[in-house]
């Protein structure tokens, strides 16, 4: 089966610029997660969806970050006016909502550098 697909692989920005990350989850997975992974740290949850609904976005810096999943399939994470502190790898993952305690399937991530 095809895995979780993310694009782009890399992004380099100046502070103040905007960037969007795209994720295509595993077919049939109704739950989609965005994680931020700063260098030398574990992934930190930003937001997750069940179908098109946001379940929890409490860790998303709402003033500059936004995430959507309009049809309950693909998802886009956008950063407006990026800051150097946003430098990290952004990981997308997917799973089934009703299979608690099961694995998350991760994409390879998008590595963002903000200069």
């Amino acid at each position: 089966e095809a895995g979780v697909t993310q694009s782009p692989r890399y992004a380099v920005l100046q502070e103040g610029q905007a960037v969007s990350f795209w994720c295509d989850p595993i077919s049939g997975h109704d739950t989609l997660y965005w994680y931020q992974q700063p260098r030398d740290q574990g992934p930190q949850l930003l937001v997750y969806f069940r179908d098109e609904a946001v379940i929890d976005n409490s860790q998303l810096p709402s003033d500059r970050f936004s995430a959507v999943r309009p049809k309950g399939t693909n998802s886009t994470l956008k950063i407006q006016s990026a800051k150097q502190g946003d430098t990290a790898t952004y990981l997308c993952a997917s799973s089934f909502w009703d299979r608690g305690g099961e694995r998350l399937f991760f994409g390879h991530g998008t590595k963002l550098s903000v200069l």
Partner: protein, 111 residues
């Protein structure tokens, strides 16, 4: 061990040696999942242990869970150079796969 304010830990060993890494967590969890992340890749699950289990084995991997002390361990026997990676433990207090990851352990296995 992982978690809290601890820095990313690093272990350097020779091929063939056994290694154990530890994880302590702060809240109730339904499961502890161990992920391996190789350079340039996303994390991938290697072993999962549920709250009603004390030990789980999979090939060269062994995970333990002590819910009373809120700690888990991952052991790898007969390490290979290909085991070189960062290892994370992750817990779930939601029951809906909302995972919280530890800071990770860097494992370097030299041939």
């Amino acid at each position: 061990s992982q978690w809290g304010e601890e820095n990313l830990q690093a272990l350097s060993i020779q091929e063939g040696e056994d290694v154990t890494m530890n994880c302590s967590y702060k809240t109730y969890t339904t499961v502890v999942q161990w992920y391996r992340q190789k350079s340039g890749k996303g994390p991938a699950l290697i072993i999962l242990i549920r709250s009603n289990e004390r030990e789980k084995r999979s090939g060269r991997l062994r995970a333990t869970l002590d819910t009373s002390s809120q700690s888990s361990s991952l052991s790898i026997t007969g390490t290979l150079a290909t085991d070189t990676a960062v290892y994370f433990c992750a817990t779930d207090d939601s029951g809906y796969n909302k995972l919280t990851f530890g800071k990770g352990t860097v494992l370097l296995v030299s041939p």
